[in-house]
Structure formats: C-alpha cells, structure tokens
Amino acid sequence: MTNFELKELKTLSYQRPEIDKGYANQSLYVNITDPDIAIKPVTEQMKEIFIGGKGFDLWLLWHAVTPRTRWNDPENTICIASGPMGGTPAYPGSGKSIVAAISPTTGSVMDSNVGGYFGPYLKFSGFDALEIQESIKVFASKGLPEDGYALSEVLTNHFAGGKPRGISVVSTGPGAAHTVMGCINFTWYDNKRKRARYKQAGRGGLGTVFADKGIKAIVARWDSVSLDSNKPADKEALRSVGKAYSKEIVALDPKQNQMSKIGTTHLVPIMNDFDLLPTHNFKFGQHKHAGLIGKDVYKDIFDPGFDGCWMGCTVACSHGVKDFVPLTGDYAGKKVFVDGPEYETIAGCGSNLGVFDPYFIVEMNFYCDTYGLDTIAVGTSIAFVMECFEMGLIDTSHTGGLDLNFGNRLGALTLVHQMATGEGFGKIVGQGVRNMKKVFAESYGADPGILQDIGMESKGLEFSEYMTKESLAQQGGYGMALKGPQHDEAWLIFLDMVHNYMPTFEDKAEALHWFPNFRTWFSLCGLCKLPWNDIVPEDNKEEDEPAKVMKHIRWYAEYFSAMTGRKVVPDDLIPMSEAVYNFQRIFNVRMGFGRREHDTIPYRAVGPVTVEEYESRQERYDDQLTDKYSVDIEEKSSEEKVALLRNFREEQYEKLKDAVYQRRGWSNDGVPTVETAKRLRIDFPEVLEVLEVSGR
C-alpha cells in the first residue's frame, strides 16, 4: 500500500460539450506555474487544414514557442491530441494519442504516436487537444512512487472509483529526468489481468520535457465507450466499414503475420534472413543466433490473450510477459508484468548489442519503461558505446570500470540503472549519440571522423532498428524524415531492395513523397498505422499499386467521410497530410533545423565504414563496384575499395535528395517553396515570414 498526498491547487468547472462528428471543438490549456487553466476554441480552419492529432499539436506548439525556444524553456509546451477518429471502438487501431513538443535531442519539433486510452478519454471529456506549458513551482503531491510502473498502477487505483477501465494515466520515470531520452508512458486498464498496462511515446525525449516541467502525471477519466461516443456523421456507414475491416483482419491475420499471437516479433527472423537486422551497432544485418530472439521464442514467453492497446482493435498486437522476475535493480526477485517486447526493442536492446538472450531483452524493456526511457535510443546509444569500446576509442577509465564489449548483458543493464539515477558512465550515455560524439572527441581524444561514421544519429535522434545500407530509398526514408531517423514516416526497404519496385531516382522520390505523407495521415486522425499494411487483403496483388494497399485506403476514406461528414476519396488524403507535413518542415526551418545539411546521415547507414564490414560482404560490394560503377578492382586493396564505394554511394544519396526535394515542392536546400505553401493553404503570414527569411 502506497501512502501519498495530493493537494488541489486549481480547478476549472466546465460544461462538457457534446462530441460532434469526431470533434469536441475545443482544447484545454494548462499553465502549471500560475497555475492557470483555460479553454480555447478549435476553429473550422484548424479542422479544415490541420485535421486533428499531430496537426493540432503542431499548430498549438507553433503559437506557443518562438524560434529561440529551447526544450527546457518554460514556454516549451507538451501537446497531446487524438484525432477525429480517435476513440472509435468499431474500427481497428482507432485509439492513438499524438504527443509533440520541442525535443531535447534535436532542438526542434518532435512527435510521437502512442497507444493507451488517454487521447480518446481526453476528447470524450471535452477536449481535442491538451497543452501544458511552464513548469511546476508548487509540488502538489507527496509520497507517490518515482517509477512509471508503480506510479501507473497506484494512480489508476486511486482515481478508479471502482471503474479502473475508465482511467488512463500519462507519466514517465526517473530516467527521463537524468537523460535526454525520456519516454512518456500512456496506460490502459487490462480487465483480464486486472492491471494497468502501458505503451510509450518514445522518440526524441518527450519524457524528458515532461520530467523537466516537474509533472508527475496527467490522468483522464471517462465512462463507457461506444460507436456513438464520437457522434459520427453517418453511424451506419461507419459501422459497416468498420465491420468489414475487423472481419478481414480476423480472417487474414492467422494466415499472415499472426500479430495477435506474436506481435511484431515475426520481423526478427525475416529481417535477419534479408541481412536487415542490426547487429553490433548496425555493422551487420545478420547473426547466426538471431533465432534465439525471434517469434518462435517469444510466442512461448508472451502471456496469451487478446491484447489491444485500444478497444476493439482486432490486430491485438500489444503483448506482454507475465510474472517476469528481473535479475537486477529494485525489482530483482519480484514478479512483474512487462509490456512488450516489440521488434524495435528486441533489435535495439538485443541483436544490436550483440546479445541474443530473450530474457535479457525483457529485462531491458521492463526497466526502460519503468525508468521512462526510450528503448530505441537506449539500444542505439549503448550499441555505439560498445563499438567505441571495442575499437579502443574509449576504455574502462572512461566507463567507470565497466567492460562494455558487445554481448555484455550486465554492462548494458548497469548503464540503464545508472541512467535512472544520473550516475556513472550511464549519465553520459543517457545524453545520446550526438552528445557522446562530442564528449568522446573533445574530452577523451577520440577521432571525430570515425565517431561521425559509426554514431547512428541524424538530426540528433538515434536511428530506429533497420539496416539501410542496401536500400537507398530507406536511407532517404530515415535521412529525410522530418523529426529524424524513425521508420514511422517511411519504411521502404522491402519495396526497394527486395521487390525492386522503385529502380529510378524518380520512383524513389515518388515513394518518398507518397509514403511519408500517407503515414502522416494516421497521426492526424488518431489512428494506428499497423492495420493498414501489416494485414494485406488477399486480392491486393490484383491492384495497380499493391504497395499502397488501396482497398484499405478506400476504406479509410469511407471511414473519414462517415466520421466527419466531410466527403473524401482516396486521392484527397495525401493533400490533407501534405499541408501538415510541409508545415512541420517549415516549423523545423523556423527552429533553425530543416535544411539539406540536416538531412545528412552517418556513413554507417549508407555503406561499409570499415574493411571488416566490406570483407564480410565482399562479393556483394565487389560486384557493385564492377557491374554498377564499372571500376576495375583487380589491383585494389580493401581499403581502396571501401573509399571508392563510399564516393559512389554518398553521391547517390545527394542525388536522391535532389529528386525528393523536387518532388515535394521544396527548394534545392530542402525548404518548401512559397508556391508549395500557397497550394497547401498554409501560407499564413507567419509561415511566409519564415520562408522569406530563409530566402524562398
């Protein structure tokens, strides 16, 4: 039993508006210094151009900050919104919340799409979006647990009033305050297991902003949810399209990826077979022990159940491990429930560290969530440290005596525990790859060139867990992603590398226009992307463009029309996203960030940095040099071949940038043109001012 005190500092009484066609038509502003609470209207223009979710977040954030705002300035604002479809139980994947703020890792706008019930409950309580500004001066709670695992449970029980399913808690953990890679946990209540579960808004240190503001938690409470909760414009049309989608998933998931049983763990053996599973800091894409951390193992470790992170999601991929007993940390020897692991955590905290122990990965997953740390940033940062250690760029005199060779499980866990307390070498690792490169070069005398080549970050954000060396399109998918190298904007590896659907620069540029924009659309609406293309209709191959899964896009257009009453067809969805996508790029420019130079990626993402990497796939690289680039390699050493290949590949990447910028309607420096802003109706005076200053 936890004893704690909560003090009421400020309340606001309000008349809850009826939801109308997916919108509450107002947002909630909280200034936690004053404290002050206010209600703001959601205008027709906001709905028309920004749709909801991430669109609303960006619009609110733009007005809250200035070009000089840093992540830890009081005016930085945490914005959370679902979207017009968020909170629909009848259509799979309709319960997402989107979080945005200025990021401590990139210094610009960060957004993260997360499950759990908060966004929908916030909307049903009367608000399409929530803004939290300033930082806490008067602490209103005493005695609450520090860690996210216990805190979620305690607050769910405290506010439940006998109905825990009606509670969603948003919080982080102690690691968020001591690093720049803090995540935010969003809960839902699992009725079967009688406990709070959570998903993470992981990327870009949004949890660190949350912790810096001194916020302990945000709690939303709601009663029952039905198809009527969103008051759709055409309930019957919505019911019918939702039923068709759910039925298809129930019929096809068992034949296809079986996500309802194994989550995203099926990706481990597949990525490994195609040389795409990052191992040893993205050096290689394959390992003989990958089978030990794949779906065959996790299907037996996961607690069986119908595990959706929102009501009615028939994909139900949010699995967890019951009665897990950690070997280290405060929970050592105690039974805990672990949410996950998903593919990204397995690859980031497993293969990329050279560890092929499924239980170690579960323990890393547990402590990262509990401490409020992003498993991807943690994995990629520790992988970088391990390679630096093996290369002799750092040694035990820097690591506090820790032996950090690849495969050292205890070393990795020790770093995570240190991140939670802000002690030891973990404190430095918690500052992320970009900051570590600086420290290792300036304070430890390491060669900045090699650090740049192997430090897997771009724009300050750590890479998510896919190898990109053999897919130019995915190099662009990561390098030209607005917030940094996260795959939620574009995942083109298979289409490019395996199916060869985009042989020319123009084809790749078209894909790097269409896919990021369509993927953005999910975050405007409060939706999860997984049901779109992780379950594919059986007749999809008959479609003209099978990669787009057009049948599902037609259903999404029907769904949007039925919810909002705004009649749209599939071709209308991309322009909706384009407006927000370009607005975000211009927002980046405003923050001094969104230009060609910022779309640079480390060479490890492009090709073999070392002779060891080259020689491990020598036939492949030799063939490319001779067949593709007509080089006579007869007399060439491996070092020379590494250098030659590098020149060719780096040149290709720059050419790709040219083609993509042109397709997106951007200048050659990667800035949207005034013409593009006008076409998308985002030519607000303050936007034009930014473009004018940037010379467009």
Partner: protein
C-alpha cells in the same frame, strides 16, 4: 499432399519452396512464406525442402515496419 493457403496440392519428394512458387503466376509478390509455422525468406527459397503434409501460407510483401 500439402496445404497452400488452405488449398490442397500434391507434394513431391525433394520439392523446394522455389519449386512450389515456380508453379504460381504471382510468385514475385512473395518474399516470405510460412511453412509449418516457420518463416522462410527468399534467400532460402532454393534450399528449403518442403516436408509432406506441410501447411504453407504465402505472406504478402512486408511493407510494414
């Protein structure tokens, strides 16, 4: 007999995944298949021998992540 996406088709001794797919006119769509619950990917199609009575599902292209 083996089952391919719930349809029965005859099995032959030594039959590989590549042999099986060569009989389909849309084989290029499949980079991954599942044989008795195990994923087999294109780099292994030539070598992987299908056992009799196998239950096989063709996995549409992975466009996820």
């Amino acid at each position: 007999m083996i089952s391919l996406n719930d349809e029965k088709i005859p099995w032959q001794e030594g039959m590989t995944v590549a042999d099986l797919l060569s009989g389909l006119n849309d084989a290029h769509n499949y980079a991954v298949i599942r044989v008795n619950g195990k994923y087999v990917s294109r780099p292994n199609f030539d070598a992987y021998k299908i056992p009799d009575e196998a239950e096989i599902f063709l996995i549409p292209m992975v466009v996820g992540g």
